[in-house]
Symmetry: C2
Subunit: 585 residues, 2 copies
């Protein structure tokens, strides 16, 4: 070893010891007859002090030089309480330059002067920054604790192949031309869904895998072409068993990694999540639940002569409001900005109605000319708004669309009010998802989760009469408005599966062509089973309190799917193309 | 849960309990008024007993049906000591068929009637066999214990990307056409070598990853296009630190997984391994070390008139023998078979000389007409052969080639004598590999490990005078004649790296083009570092006592790189090809 201590471990109790450290030069400060060097490694920073005839040892050294340093631990004169090693320094007797360094293109500090592009090009230097490395230490710890918990629960981690076959449904596959089998391609897995279900057919009983998955999608912000799932499946279980098992896992992670005891996870039906939050992944760190006002307003409007009606509300199928506590002080400008916010094309609301509850209890609204104070008081009461509160109302023909707009407004208000503290965690299960959702594009019902998802037993009769109303044994774990995981109980009954395919519009032949392989395997004795998958990148970023997953990935790709550090993807030799029997177009 | 106990846990102490189990029908035996069903799950087998009015519950059941069974635990009349649950059975009150099963194409038994091809096509049924599943349980446990050990030693598991760039040296890459960047390709990593070295530049200090790697090679027996490495790297270390760290890991694995205490690993130089075993991965479960006889025979031959010389030995640069204890009883036929064995084209020896030491001490050899009994006695003495032993001798012009042939003969004799017990483990480090090996094909020195491998400091002067003699700080861990892991200390000094490239025949421009990226990163301050990688598939198969890695992989590919179960690789749509801007030739 080039060292016998790290840069993070020396304390006052070590004073007097002769030690050897190795690390990078963080900073050099020359102060007359004294030179200080901060030496950095993964474990911390230790101050080196040079004086007298040792001063010359610092000659020629620069930032990021790699040094091996020997010296004696002494007590510091001016201690640094910010630093775990801040009470000591090293009186240097010897410096061995292990490697010099050219000046890095940006500063290796938590607050760096490097822009995103530069940091990505020199990611190996970016990773030297403590704040970035901490995220990867967190990721290691989370993955390890996931494994520890699942191992203790009898789960087996089974590696499934990366070179698989192209799947019939879902997103676009990355493919790999086969040299040995000209004209054919492997595909990279979008998830090990089919393979984990096969492992249940094999009797593996409890499977998990922390596994890379791949989707060749146009990359929106914060999507990566390769991402990591915690993929899990269990046999002989019902939904309740899975919820309990993975609630336990999340509780273990919060405790072991963050030291936080989280309360038992509340469960919210998908219907309630949409009704009260306009989202299937509600951020429950704060209330501001939706109150539906269409009945109230329609009653009022119906009592008015047609000419006096507020047509926007009179004709809206859905009117919903949120109450922002203490926001009656919002200025006209702030309210205009909120209106602009919800009218952005990404959100698409037509307008916003607001009402302030004044200190004297009167309500002043942007629709005062259409409604009496009496009506506005009824609204305030329905909203449970008190003096000083602000009521924000959206309306529209399509309840679901309007709810989603109101959800964006709610989240923005939560942000403005500081109610979305990344250090605070609110977890829940969203359950009872619909089996199907209507696709305008395909003009048919589509599987909301995937076509193997089991309907709730009590809803099975509805498959014949009202399939759109059927609820699934599907569930998502939501933390702070982020879907960190989701899954379902799978259908293990061939007849039920046939019916589900039929509703999805597949002929028996199409179903056979698309899913015959798994259906065939099921004929040999499939156990009841179900599972779920977590997005590890997202889970880590949540624990790290970050908005983006990118800094929880060692070598992420940019929005064009490029690794600018490695220069991937790149051109390949003609020889390689020839061997693969492919030609560029 | 569909069960409250598994099929592996009930014991005599549970008698009287009412339990519910779920699993697969292993076997049904009808014996007059009594029917027995063996119910199987991952945890074991439990016998179900039906009699009286419950007999009819077994009607229509068949092998591999999935059942949920309720009944009372009772003591068995005829106990089965082979089975952990063999003292009890279940007096069945209720059977619920969770799923019927068609008859599987082969029996789900350790000794199955299914051939390799059929088992691979129905791998999900093959995985039901206990002997196969046990290998994957072992794999899970080994991977988990690797992580536990390395985590405790301060290693961080960092996921490196799967979509990388094509590498300049090494085996053939699998490539992935990029849709978003037409005409370019990602490559799948052959190993994270460069990325882990970058992580050392980043100051990660101790990195590991259990990671899939990919090589598009023509598949020899027991090679897989995707395989799993335990990939490790450390900073500020010397060879000794790495050997100790990973010897510790292996010791932990043997203890935690197999309950075996292994002795401190001996270290053998590459030169000694070649000299005494003819292999850089000697199987040291048994002795039978090579004895070199060329000096002895040349001395004898030189004293003879030319006409009487045994030209084979007289002209051989290398003559080596092994002594097979107690094998003087080998018949002429057995000896002829051994001769045929070494003359197979894969081994390529021209012939074999043998000598038996008879009970009276005289030596009878296949070359009696060329040598006096006195000479043969000298040979026997050199070989430490005693009465009853058999001496086998190979010779040739090329010492290395002949040693490799003799190594094959030694391994075959070890096999015949039962000296290669898969339940016995002999581990060692092979160290001091040569830096370079001569390539007849390329007519130049090639890097034996890889071009970043550091020479031994004391051999650095030889780089200028005799590069072929330079030894590297490179090491392999060998267990039972299998190289389970290997690595090296890397060069961190730019000047030394330049010289090594020069000897490899790269101009500075070529070196820059091939390795410039890593060299560039090193300019920003590279610590001394080194590491190694284990082949997990091989490591598991060794622990499992298997010859092949295939049964330690859940879904392996065959020798044509095909997954016959999934039907991968397969054809893809024209639409996909168009999107990827490629055309099939």
């Amino acid at each position: 070893m080039y060292r016998n201590v790290t840069c993070g471990e020396l304390r006052l109790a070590d004073v007097g010891k002769t030690v050897t450290l190795a690390g990078w030069v963080q900073r050099i400060r020359k102060m007359g007859g004294l030179t200080f060097i901060d030496l950095r490694d993964r474990y911390g920073i230790t101050q080196l002090a040079l004086n007298g005839d040792k001063l010359s040892l610092a000659d020629g050294l620069g930032r990021e030089f790699v040094l091996q340093v020997t010296g004696q631990v002494i007590e510091r004169q001016s201690k640094n309480a910010q630093l775990p090693t801040g009470e000591i320094e090293i009186e240097v007797s010897e410096i061995n330059v292990l490697n010099p360094a050219v000046t890095p293109p940006f500063t290796i500090e938590d607050e760096t002067d490097g822009g995103d592009d530069l940091r990505m090009k020199y990611r190996y230097l970016d990773l030297r920054r403590t704040c970035v490395r901490k995220n990867l230490e967190l990721r290691h710890k989370m993955a390890f604790e996931v494994r520890r918990y699942l191992d203790e629960q009898g789960f087996l981690e089974v590696e499934t192949p990366v070179l698989v076959n192209s799947t019939p449904e879902g997103a676009r596959d990355f493919v790999v031309p086969s040299r040995m089998n000209p004209g054919t391609f492997y595909a990279l897995p979008q998830s090990p869904q089919i393979l984990k279900q096969l492992l249940m057919v094999s009797g593996f009983d409890r499977y998990f895998q922390i596994v890379k998955c791949f989707r060749d999608e146009d990359l929106r912000a914060d999507r990566q072409p390769e991402f990591t799932q915690i993929d899990c499946e269990m046999s002989f279980v019902e939904q309740e068993d899975i919820l309990n098992m993975f609630e336990g896992m999340s509780r273990h992670l919060f405790k072991a990694v963050l030291g936080i005891d989280i309360p038992k996870l509340p469960r919210m039906t998908w219907a309630d999540a949409m009704k009260y939050y306009g989202s299937d992944k509600p951020d429950t760190r704060f209330g501001m639940r939706f109150v539906e006002l269409q009945d109230l307003f329609h009653e009022v409007e119906n009592q008015k002569p047609e000419a006096e009606r507020f047509s926007v509300f009179a004709n809206a199928n859905y009117i919903g409001g949120i109450c922002a506590k203490g926001c009656a002080v919002y200025t006209r400008k702030q309210l205009d900005q909120l209106t602009e916010y919800v009218r952005r094309p990404q959100i698409g609301a037509k307008g916003m109605v607001y009402a302030r509850v004044e200190q004297d209890g009167t309500v002043k609204s942007s629709v005062d000319k259409f409604y009496t104070q009496d009506v506005l008081q009824r609204v305030a009461k329905a909203m449970e708004a008190e003096a000083g509160d602000l009521i924000l109302i959206l309306s529209g023909d399509d309840a679901m669309k309007t709810r989603k707009q109101l959800s964006e407004l709610r989240l923005e208000m939560g942000r403005q009010l500081g109610l979305r503290d990344p250090k605070k965690f609110s977890c829940l299960w969203v359950v009872d998802f619909p089996m199907y959702e209507w696709s305008d594009e395909e003009q048919r019902l589509m599987a909301m989760h995937h076509p193997f998802t089991s309907p709730k037993p009590e809803d099975i009769p509805l498959l014949d009469t009202d399939p759109a109303a059927v609820r699934a044994n599907a569930y998502d774990m939501v933390i702070n408005g982020v879907e960190v995981g989701g899954g379902s109980i799978r259908i293990h009954d061939a007849k039920l599966q046939e019916k589900v395919f039929e509703i999805l519009g597949f002929t028996p032949e199409q179903a056979q062509a698309k899913f015959g392989f798994l259906m065939n395997a099921f004929k040999y004795g499939a156990p009841p089973h179900g599972g779920l998958a977590y997005g590890l990148d997202r889970f880590v970023s949540l624990f790290a309190g970050l908005d983006s997953i990118r800094d929880c990935i060692a070598f992420p790709k940019n929005n064009q799917g490029k690794d600018v550090m490695l220069g991937a993807p790149g051109v390949i030799d003609q020889v390689q193309l020839d061997e693969l029997n492919i030609v560029l177009k």
